[in-house]
Every structure is written in structure tokens, then in C-alpha cells.
Amino acid sequence: MTLNEATRAIESKNFAALMGLANSPTMFGDMARHDQFVMWLMSALETPDAQQKILQRILFLVREQDDVRFRSSSDAAIAVYLWCLGETNLALARLAATYVIGTPRLWWARKVALQLLGGATGGKSIAKRATITSVVATDSPIKAELSTDASDTLAIPSPSRGPGDVLAPSAVTITVDRDRATSKVGRSSLTTKNKGTRTQQ
């Protein structure tokens, strides 16, 4: 099997339909773990070259616009790619997750992205009274601070999506305790070394 064959199978309608049987994120993970193409991809992702290719594939699929009235047809594939990348290279997976998290018309992919970034869905979030303290563009001269009355809503500006311009692996950090949350958004090129983020408490 080649990487192309595996990605073709994972991006097929048949695969999306199969993964659609999942009733929960846990079941989605179980189904992915037992799929032959996903298992093959997982082993292939031990090489940095394959990891970069899958990262690029995720970014391509996220930008792809199919029928905007419906959920992205690549939702399950993006979710599986993110999940596989998360098992093999967490930094790259988080980089991809920062893109996926703000993309509309995704369901499973968004859940996986949120998990990679430390969040949770399904009413299980640890945040009960989150408040934004600041949003800082770490690699950009723009510094934005905002607060909101909506105590559990964290607004993150859409990242720039020019060619080769993606968020750094730790560009979005959500730190949540019982009383507040802080988020930072930064931009860097794909090849930029992770500079890390500072989290205000």
C-alpha cells in the first residue's frame, strides 16, 4: 500500500459513511483504530516526510470548499488524519488543529481538534466560568485584547490563510481554570520553529 492509496481510501465516501456509524468520539476512535487503512497510515506516519504530507493534506482539505450548505465531505478524513498525527507527532497535530478548530461545517474533525488543544465537547468541558483575558498575536505586531460578557464564549480571530502561512504549533493555547481562560493566537510560517506561547493567568 502507498500513502496515496491510504489517503484515497480514507477520503472516500465509503469511509465517511462507515465512520458515520459512530455514536461518540470514543466509538469514532475505536472504529478508526480498527480500520486497515488507518492502521497502515499510522505506521507510515512514523516518518517525518509522511507526517508533513498528512499535515499538508489536512490544510488542503480544510481550505477545500465543497457544497457549503452541508457538512464538509472530508470531515471524517480530516478527523482521522488529525487523530493519527496526534498519536505520532503531537506538535504537528496541534498545528493542524488550530486550523481545523475555526473551520465551519466540521463535526468529528472539530472534536478531535478540540481534544488536541486541550478542550472537550459534549458538555464535559472543565470550563464553567471561562472569561477571555486577552488574545495576543505572538508573531505579529498586532496585539488585541478583548473581553466578553458571554462568559463561556471564547472568540479567536480567524488566522491568516495565505500560501504557506499557518499557525505555529502552540499558536492557540487555552488555559482554563474555574474562573478564567486565556487564549493566544500567533502566526508563523510552517517552517518556523515553535516559539511557544506565554499564558497569562
Binding site: 461518540s24 466509538m27 481562560a181
Partner: protein, 171 residues
């Protein structure tokens, strides 16, 4: 936009869903339905697990819990099933006491994985020379649509029909 506390009472997109005892039930609503061609493909997958399944509705707007407990309006994680069983007056019944309208819970490893409504009790005794009732269930299969299906014809990951519950008031 990222919602912290997605699915909680603070999530503006979640349904205000409560049990009979006024406990909030976490739920989420997707921002987009799956495309019709994707759902038609899903129907083919369903038929692999249940060749006799009859599609009632091809939609991904709700899940099995949403069908049974939230009148097809939202997605409720299966982990919250005990909230309904405890607060909405359900009692466990044995398989031989089940009637139409009761619910069946599928479990794997002792954990609930899927839930459906008992739709029909079909007497298939003549085929077997002994008294056998085939139970037909109505349930939503993940994102893949809502189906009438034989009780044992589900994907292996859903587990097996393990418990039956009813909110019936005795005559």
C-alpha cells in the same frame, strides 16, 4: 469561534434540554447536515450490517439519544442516558415483558453504546416450531440515518441488546 463549555447550558447553540426533574442534559447541535449523497452512501453501509433495515429518515441532525429522548432535535452523548432513566420514571423490564414503545440499550463491555425504541414485536414462531418473537427496533445509527431494524442486526461496536427500560404506568 471556539466555545468553551460546548454542549453545556452556556453553549448558545445547545438545546435547552432538561429531564423531568429539571436537570440540564448536555447536548450539541451540528452547524451543518451531511450532504444527501453522503447519506445515501451511509445507507449502503447500514445494509451491510442489517440487510433487512428499512430507512425511515436520512439525516445527521440527531443521534440515537436525540431520537429517543429529545424528539430528534439534537445530539446527546450516550454517557448521559442514566439521567433520563433516573429522572424520567423509567424502570427496567425483562425481554419477555417488552412491548412497543419501550427502549432497548445496547452495551459493550458493560457500557451503553446505543439506544433505540422498540417498534414492533413480530411473531415468527411458524418459522421455528416454537414461540419466537422478533423484536424490531427504531434507532438512529450515528450520523448515518434512522432505521427500522431487527434487534440483533447492528454494527458490532454498538454491542448487544443488554437492557430494556420502560416508563409505562401499570394498568
Amino acid at each position: 469561534m471556539i466555545i468553551i463549555g460546548q454542549g453545556t447550558e452556556q453553549d448558545p447553540n445547545a438545546l435547552r434540554l432538561y429531564t423531568a426533574l429539571n436537570r440540564y442534559v448536555p447536548n450539541e447541535r451540528p452547524d451543518a447536515e451531511r450532504a444527501p449523497e453522503s447519506l445515501r452512501e451511509a445507507r449502503k453501509i447500514v445494509r451491510k450490517f442489517s440487510p433487512t433495515a428499512i430507512c425511515r429518515s436520512l439525516t445527521s441532525k440527531y443521534n440515537c439519544m436525540g431520537l429517543v429522548f429529545a424528539t430528534r432535535r439534537t445530539i446527546v452523548p450516550i454517557d448521559h442516558i442514566s439521567m433520563f432513566l433516573e429522572d424520567d420514571g423509567y424502570s427496567q423490564v425483562t425481554r419477555d415483558r417488552v412491548i412497543e414503545g419501550d427502549i432497548v440499550i445496547y452495551a459493550r463491555g458493560g457500557l451503553a453504546q446505543h439506544v433505540g425504541l422498540v417498534h414492533q414485536l413480530q411473531d415468527v414462531s411458524p418459522q421455528y416450531d416454537r414461540s419466537i418473537v422478533q423484536i424490531w427496533v427504531l434507532s438512529q445509527w450515528g450520523d448515518d440515518g434512522e432505521y427500522f431494524h431487527k434487534i440483533d442486526e447492528v454494527p458490532p461496536l454498538y454491542g448487544t441488546p443488554s437492557q430494556f427500560w420502560s416508563e409505562r404506568t401499570p394498568e
